[in-house]
Homo-oligomer: 372 residues x 2
């Protein structure tokens, strides 16, 4: 993958949750400097599809997927914090996953890669910070799948992170989101080009259709209504085929889906998608409430979005209730963004001040700019 | 199709909205008797996939898709009303559609069938009642796509229906539901077995995947959570393939999808799905409000369901507002059913008394049974 050479990596023996012993590479990027006390580190886990390139850095000056949130003078100010973002185990941007060579066979793992769990990804993040000699994190943070991973991390390693930021996350997958992801995976696996995971060229059609279904679950009907209404694509872009793209909303989904299919590996998608279904924090204690009582972080921020179909607000409320009961200091924000599950990537005006507040940033708040 | 021989049919020249002249067969079923004044008829339009077999009848004693709502002593009491349900033009249960033989070529139409609109389906229903010499309907009624059709009917033929019942319907498709249906169609068209509509055996895989996406849009996340939680299928039904069915919700969707693929033709699905996208009542007057002022029915019942993702409640509210402004007597019911868009097929306890009330039925109401 193109960004891999720009990444730092660690390697080392690692036992996965299903018992497999691996020797994986974990790719990561960092921003800022680790201080002498090694107490200013922030560990950032990603959603399903991003790489470790969360923001531009000296290694890679291109914009990252959370460019507005991370950097000098930004909400997570890298003049203050040493931020580490890892590429999830099982992904395809430098970390070991289904696209890597299986040392036992000398060929690509494909679907012979062991089952990946959210706990495995959390453990691989822990391995990275241990390689830095970091014993305590200022916070562990993540959004979507990354929020699941951050939660798993603070339960598995309760003495490490002092803070937890969970954005549009949950403690376990519910059947509606499982059903959506299961259908995405079946669409990919039904593409004849998938070839039971042994493709040489990507199953582009399956990936494109799965991504479109993803987009439907990541955004909201209200946003679509406001953005697209019943607008048709201009005549010069119509093909005359009555089943081809006609409405602007169809064109939008098509453009996004085509962009995605070139960047993400199909088998990696299957593995990480499945990891989200399998995750249930209740596995760590017998119930959600008991598991949440094991969260090590004392200061917690939970953010949820009212229009999120995939990680609905009652799931963030479940975390807030459990963590409050367990005596943690919980800051809960329910946002009215229209952008659904994707809001944390888009609606910066609502997210920026909250992240800034948690990380005590000194940037001007929108309200302060106009104060008299 | 198996039920076609049990249906009544009309034939006759017919100009479709796109200008094509056809000589279609319109299949229908009836229940009850048309009275001497011919003023007790009810015209029922269906959703996308049902046949005209709404309830058991002397012609076909098997249960119909709205068995509990239609018949002797039922909410639409066939001792009082003469009910006609038509199989939509473009469908595959006896009416002319893509599976019919194109007289110009001697072979199946496939995707050479003209574009079908909701207005065409409404017109074909009108042709059926005219064949009976019916000038006035007690009511026109429909759910989902059938509700769109019923609305189109009372706008196109304002002097015919005295009443309108619109269940989980709308005045036009919004981009989120267009996007879902567009993706369903693309999934079907991407199945190599579809062969540009010239398949000999059904594109089963595409139909199954499209149906699963349909199920996700027809039900609700809350219902799935209550019914399935994170239940796994028993070990004896697991295949060991980690991407195969594991959760009960996946098994449920798979069973429903397999059932559907045997009964509905893929090209018919494409045509009727597209008809829903194209429908915009505003085409009849320049705006939704102006179009609704042309509704002929004076007495209207609108029913919507809070958990409906595909025809969300604000769409029924739009109808209620427009029709109230236009001076119609509007009865609006917003139901809290968990079954989403499918509630009218499932949550009979909530729908039965409303339909009964509109049709002045004499059946015992649940409340009355226990009155003191």
């Amino acid at each position: 993958m193109t960004t891999a050479r720009k990444l730092h990596r660690i390697e080392g023996e690692f036992m996965m949750q299903n018992g497999s012993i691996m020797d994986p590479v974990i790719a990561y990027e960092t921003w800022g400097n680790l201080n002498f006390l090694k107490d200013n580190a922030v560990l950032l886990f990603t959603g399903l599809s991003p790489s470790a390139h969360a923001a531009s850095s000296t290694l890679d000056q291109s914009n990252g997927w959370w460019e507005q949130m991370l950097g000098k003078g930004k909400p997570i100010d890298t003049d203050t914090y040493f931020v580490i973002c890892i590429n999830s185990l099982g992904s395809c941007f430098g970390s070991t996953g289904p696209t890597s060579t299986n040392p036992a066979t000398g060929i690509r793992y494909g679907i012979d890669f062991p089952v990946v769990t959210i706990e495995d990804i959390a453990a691989s993040g822990q391995a990275v910070i241990e390689a830095f000699g970091i014993k305590h994190l200022y916070a562990v943070i993540g959004s979507s799948m990354g929020a699941m991973t951050a939660l798993a991390h603070t339960v598995l390693y309760p003495h490490v992170a002092k803070g937890l930021v969970s954005i549009s996350g949950n403690g376990r997958s519910e059947p509606f989101s499982i059903a959506i992801r299961s259908l995405q995976r079946e669409i990919i696996r039904s593409d004849p080009e998938w070839k039971n995971g042994l493709y040489n060229t990507s199953p582009v059609m399956g990936m494109r259709l799965a991504r479109k279904l993803g987009m439907l679950s990541y955004r909201s009907a209200t946003e679509f209504k406001q953005r697209f209404g019943r607008e048709r694509v201009p005549e010069e872009r119509q093909t005359g085929d009555s089943f081809d793209i006609d409405f602007e909303v169809e064109s939008y989904l098509d453009a996004h889906a085509k962009k995605f299919t070139g960047t993400f590996d199909a088998n990696c998608y299957l593995y990480l998608s499945r990891a989200m279904d399998l995750f249930d924090i209740a596995d760590h204690g017998g119930s959600v409430v008991k598991a949440l009582s094991k969260v090590g972080a004392q200061r917690v921020m939970i953010i949820g979005v009212e229009t999120d179909l995939l990680f609905p607000l009652h799931q963030q409320e479940e975390l807030v209730e459990g963590l409050s009961t367990a005596g943690r200091e919980v800051h809960f924000h329910r946002l009215s963004s229209l952008q659904g599950h994707d809001a944390f990537l888009v609606d910066m005006d609502q997210f920026r001040p909250l992240i800034c507040d948690f990380f005590n940033c000194t940037m001007n708040q929108p309200g302060q700019l106009h104060s008299i």
